[in-house]
């Protein structure tokens, strides 16, 4: 059975999903790509916006996108580096 994702893994999956979409993503796409429930997505997005990793961008028709910020890209780089380190030592 697959282990439950840690908080950092979920944040990574969300930011990675946005990065893969060119730095900008619709909420529904993020929900599916990050494999989260609606409530969980809302909770994490609040934290990501508060931390400055992501911002909300309003578009035409009352819709919105989530945009990856510089600090979000930095988080992804750091995550990749430390994950590789952890994997290298079999941890």
């Amino acid at each position: 059975m697959k282990q439950r994702r840690s908080r950092e893994e979920v944040i990574h999956d969300m930011l990675y999903a946005i990065q893969q979409k060119g730095g900008k993503i619709k909420p529904t796409h993020l929900l599916y790509k990050a494999n989260l429930s609606h409530d969980a997505l809302q909770r994490y997005l609040e934290d990501l916006i508060k931390a400055g990793l992501v911002t909300e961008e309003k578009v035409k028709g009352g819709r919105k996108n989530f945009v990856l910020q510089e600090s979000g890209y930095h988080f992804l780089e750091q995550y990749k580096k430390f994950k590789e380190f952890s994997d290298a030592f079999g941890i």
Binding site: S6, E8, F82, E84, F85, S86, D87, A88, G90, I91
Partner: protein
């Protein structure tokens, strides 16, 4: 312990290698700590503590070697430093094992640490050949277990960095086994130190590959 086995012509090289071992283990410990702060994985915390203890053990060995070279004899400083090296090295390897064995319970960790150090204390008679032999064989067995865990990871992940770490620890395992038989053989001591150097070089290379 070790200065007795080291030939005179190798003293300088041995000291240089000990400095390298100290720097490599310290570098891994610091990166492990940074990784722990970022990823919040408990295994990384013990990994960092383990390598920190190994770094301190090599620092103790450097102090012992410098003292021996300076005074051409085993003074109090040298003897205390050697025993500190043994204690810290064993503790470091045991703490590393906590992360690989996924031991979550503090009581179990404490008991394992106590038992391991008790084994060394029991065989800790100054003139006993078996003292060195037991220490190196015990640490080799523990490193061997880490090698086994890493081999399993390597089989699953197929990453160059994991392979380098596996090779590194495998060389350290061979190095410790060789040291166990190097009590009165200068050649084996030199060979084991070079093997350990290759091991730490491999581990350092894996760290450098992680960008």
């Amino acid at each position: 312990m070790q200065p007795m086995m080291c030939p005179d012509w190798f003293m300088g090289f041995g000291l240089a290698f000990e400095v390298i071992f100290f720097l490599v283990t310290l570098g891994i410990a610091l990166t492990g700590y940074q990784a722990y702060k970022f990823l919040h994985k408990e295994e990384l915390k013990f990994h960092s503590i383990g390598f920190s203890l190994l770094a301190l053990s090599y620092l103790a060995l450097i102090i012992s070697s410098v003292s021996f070279i300076a005074y051409h004899m085993h003074g109090v400083v040298s003897v205390v430093a050697i025993h500190a090296h043994a204690f810290l090295f064993l503790a470091g390897i045991m703490v590393l094992l906590f992360s690989y064995l996924h031991i979550k319970d503090n009581a179990t960790r404490g008991l394992l640490l106590l038992l391991t150090l008790a084994v060394i204390a029991i065989f800790n008679r100054p003139t006993s050949v078996i003292q060195d032999f037991t220490f190196y064989l015990l640490t080799a067995a523990m490193i061997g277990f880490i090698v086994f865990q890493l081999a399993k990871q390597c089989a699953c992940k197929h990453k160059n960095t994991t392979t380098l770490v596996l090779v590194g620890f495998a060389l350290l395992f061979v190095g410790q086994i060789t040291l166990a038989f190097a009590t009165h053989t200068h050649t084996l001591f030199v060979v084991s130190t070079i093997i350990n150097l290759a091991g730490f070089a491999s581990i350092a290379a894996s760290r450098l590959m992680v960008k």
